[in-house]
């Protein structure tokens, strides 16, 4: 069943040059495609690597909801002096990067552009500061006007814009 898209409340758009980090599971073959001509190059992310921020459809009978793709804003992590590895959460220990502009380019041939990159600060909960990185949380949003297959296509195009930084950090 097609999950019902949920319109994300209006949030401030991110500057085009902002670099956005996305974590993924490097041990899941479902998160990658291998290029059969250039296997020595980093694999290409698949849409499943963008998928796990939805409400799982099999939890508490809740319908699946599509909020967009969670990312972390590299500039804010730098400002806080946090290493990028702080956003990793096993098994999602791989890291990919895309600029806000490149994310928007994926939908630029449609009016209005169904893709945006926006602020989405999550208030830290822990006194020890272990989740301070959530201040840098952002979203790449997909308009709910898209059909499921159209959204899937744009998600794949977004994956192709993402550059893999790490398959896993040296310490993992």
């Amino acid at each position: 069943m097609e999950p019902e898209a949920v319109e994300v409340p209006v949030r401030a758009p991110l500057a085009g040059g902002e670099l956005l980090l996305r974590r993924f599971d490097p041990d899941s073959s479902g998160h990658f495609d291998i290029d059969q001509e250039y296997p020595e190059q980093p694999p290409q992310l698949r849409p499943k690597a963008l998928r796990f921020d939805r409400t799982p459809k099999n939890i508490s009978g809740l319908p699946a909801q599509f909020f967009g793709c969670s990312v972390f804003r590299r500039a804010l992590l730098d400002q806080m002096g946090l290493p990028y590895s702080v956003v990793l959460e096993p098994p999602f220990v791989g890291l990919a990067e895309v600029s806000a502009d490149d994310a928007r380019k994926v939908g630029q041939d449609q009016t209005p552009n169904p893709i945006d990159a926006v602020e989405d600060l999550i208030t830290p909960l822990w006194a020890d500061g272990s989740d301070l990185y959530n201040v840098s949380h952002g979203l790449i949003t997909f308009s709910k006007s898209l059909t499921g297959t159209q959204r899937d296509r744009l998600a794949t195009k977004l994956c192709r814009k993402m550059r893999i930084l790490w398959l896993r950090p040296a310490s993992v």
Partner: protein, 194 residues
């Protein structure tokens, strides 16, 4: 009669002759793929896995190493079955029907590997990726589909979408098959190291 749709085209004797000449694929494989896929579905219904079938088939390894259309289709269907078992995709008989039709039309001897996974929306998404060229087929739970291709620079090569039982437009079918054929020629490695 002039073929106007993908289905009509695939059944036209003149196309089979043209296909043999242009893609060097025996006509029997066109139908053989379909027959093999149908067998997979029947056996799956009887709780017999594709992996079981591959194990039982003494020639399966040679089929895979030769990249026959039949073996490539079986591998794709095996991946679909794995997704279904993992409950990571929404699959119905309409989904399987569309997948079989599309695989029959697109997968040919010597082609690239179909890499099957779940889409962002939980549909079945099959990718072929060679030299940065991507061909993508998305099939949802209603059997609705979207086929598109993109070059390494992100320029669209072709695109078509339809509902269950809609035929792939002829021009897109030809573009997709030609693209996949060229991708197959550029394959340098196979995931198993061959």
């Amino acid at each position: 009669m002039t073929a106007t749709t993908f289905d009509e085209l695939s059944l036209a004797p003149s196309w089979l002759a043209k296909g043999r000449a242009s893609l060097a694929t025996p006509a029997k494989d066109w139908y053989g793929t379909t027959a093999a896929a149908a067998t997979v579905v029947r056996n799956s219904a009887a709780e017999k896995t594709v992996a079981d079938q591959l194990e039982e088939n003494e020639t399966s390894q040679s089929l895979v190493s030769g990249r026959s259309a039949t073996a490539l289709t079986l591998l794709a269907l095996q991946s679909v079955q794995t997704l279904v078992r993992g409950q990571t995709v929404d699959v119905t008989p309409a989904t399987v029907d569309t997948l079989l039709k599309m695989f029959r039309g697109l997968i040919r001897d010597g082609g690239p590997l179909p890499q099957v996974g779940s889409s962002a929306s939980g549909s079945v998404e099959t990718h072929w990726l060679v030299g940065g060229v991507l061909v993508s087929l998305i099939v949802d739970a209603q059997g609705d589909w979207l086929l598109w291709g993109e070059d390494p620079a992100g320029r669209d090569l072709f695109e078509a979408e339809g509902h269950w039982n809609d035929s792939l437009p002829l021009s897109v079918a030809l573009d997709a098959r030609e693209t996949l054929h060229e991708m197959g020629l550029a394959v340098r490695v196979w995931p198993d190291g061959t």
